[in-house]
């Protein structure tokens, strides 16, 4: 029983991290109908920022995650301005292929600059702190990440649902031309949504080096998992992505513990395949 609870807790904490990575992708898809294939690479870049700030300047990840968030906001806004902007209104495949190219570029740039070595940041404030909750061990860095994820997702959700900016975003998502006729600068909405989508994933990547090794390939799996979370949740639905991410976290942890660690992604992608076959529009899709 205790083991099961422990496994579920680990799954939930991981799931929250996936949710934080997925929410940005979800936002961009929901508003712009664009799938950003470089999303996972944003995670990786942000992890490197945290790593190097920690390694060279002894800045703690809890501080440098804001730098990561800001940097990825700018990187994502530039991605929109220099690449995505020219694919809007073109076949959906063009944005997909362009961001795929960007992902390759970023990955290989880091490979070239930073070598494929795994790098681990030690001596962080959260470090490998844990605490005991009954018979369960709670890892503090993962817990902080999960709480942070909840806060960021909540903030994004609130921003979309309840602010003037969010209104403009919703109108743009529903009918871009009609939104323009209301006086909304949809170009700016797109730029900001891409930036905000990037910033959320930048924050995610910013805290991760506390407990995960950094290397040029690290983002790919996160990008892929974020993609299936968004697809399973129903494209564009933030609550859907959150539920799907938790589901992925649980399945991954359960399969990893009760079957075999190497089997965990088989279970995750098996779940994805089953779900999209049964419900192609996703859990919260319409």
């Amino acid at each position: 029983m205790d083991t099961l609870l422990q496994v579920l807790l680990d799954g939930m904490l991981n799931g929250m991290l996936y949710a934080l990575v997925a929410v940005g992708l979800c936002l961009i898809w929901g508003v712009m109908d664009v799938i950003n294939f470089a999303h996972g690479e944003y995670v990786m870049i942000s992890m490197y920022i945290t790593y190097w700030l920690g390694f060279l300047a002894h800045v703690d990840p809890l501080v440098s995650m804001f730098a990561g968030g800001l940097f990825i906001f700018i990187l994502a806004a530039l991605t929109y301005r220099l690449i995505i902007k020219y694919t809007i209104g073109k076949p959906p495949l063009s944005a997909l292929l362009a961001t795929f190219g960007l992902a390759m570029l970023l990955k290989n740039l880091c490979l070239n600059r930073f070598t494929p070595n795994y790098r681990i940041l030690s001596d962080t404030w959260l470090g490998d702190r844990t605490f005991q909750l009954g018979a369960i061990i709670v890892p503090v860095p993962q817990l902080v990440t999960a709480l942070l994820a909840l806060a960021v997702i909540g903030l994004v959700f609130f921003m979309i649902r309840s602010t003037r900016f969010g209104w403009a975003v919703q109108a743009t998502a529903m009918d871009k031309e009609a939104a323009e006729l209301m006086g909304i600068n949809t170009e700016r909405i797109y730029l900001l949504i891409f930036g905000i989508g990037g910033a959320t994933v930048g924050i995610a990547g910013g805290v991760m080096p506390t407990y995960l090794a950094v290397h040029p390939e690290v983002g790919t799996m996160f990008g892929l998992i974020a993609f299936i979370c968004v697809a399973m949740g129903g494209f564009g639905s933030i609550p859907g992505a959150l539920v799907a991410a938790l589901l992925v976290g649980f399945v991954e942890a359960l399969a990893g513990y009760y079957i075999a660690p190497v089997f965990k992604y088989v279970a995750v992608f098996g779940l994805y395949l089953t779900l999209v076959l049964l419900r192609p529009r996703g859990i919260f899709g319409w």
């Binding site: 209104w167 009609a178 323009e180 006729l181 209301m182």
Partner: protein, 238 residues
Amino acid sequence: MADPILSLVDVHAGYDGVPVVFGVSLEVMPGEMVAVVGANGAGKSTTLRAVAGLNNPLQGTIRFEGRDISRLRPHQTLALGISYVPEGRRVFAKLSVEENLRLGAYTEKSEAEIRRRLDEMMRLFPVLGERARQTAETLSGGEQQMLAIARGLMSRPRLLMLDEMSLGLMPTLVEKMMETVVAINRSGVTVLLVEQMVQEALEIAHRGYVLQSGRIVQSGPSRELLDSEEIRKAYMGM
């Protein structure tokens, strides 16, 4: 004579670089109601879309109150006082009537002012007041058209452009809509409307332009156009 509020000089416009409007020139005076009529595919919508900034002209100049707006985007033309009610209504289906209207006043930040305009719209179209909380998709075609017009008026435009507002409406309803447009025009809003219902449009407009295959083939006071043998033959089946 006063300066025109809107003038198009030799405007060529189209989609993806392929022109469908070839050298249209027209003028609208302040306070006037002008109709652009013609068959389906004549380039009427394209002309209005070019004015609104949805697709900038490939060639030629569009001036609004003397200012060149040929290269502006829709949110900029709206800020100057142009409101375009697009063909097909394009209301936000999943949003309520009130939310749709509020989006129409997106650029207005004062809540008191927005409320004042909401009240005004609900007086102009009482049915919208009755259905303020319903989503736009539950409205009938005519009600959606009223919502689209009201939404377009929420920004307090000086020039209101109406694109095929009679499309898909019952004849009795068309008549009512036309009366409302006359009332809007009398309240001081300059109106430029585009219509396939040539007779109905010309009956309410001061002047008209006849567009055919992307070119203006005839223009003048509505009375003259209504009496024109060619127009009666070509568009009114007489």
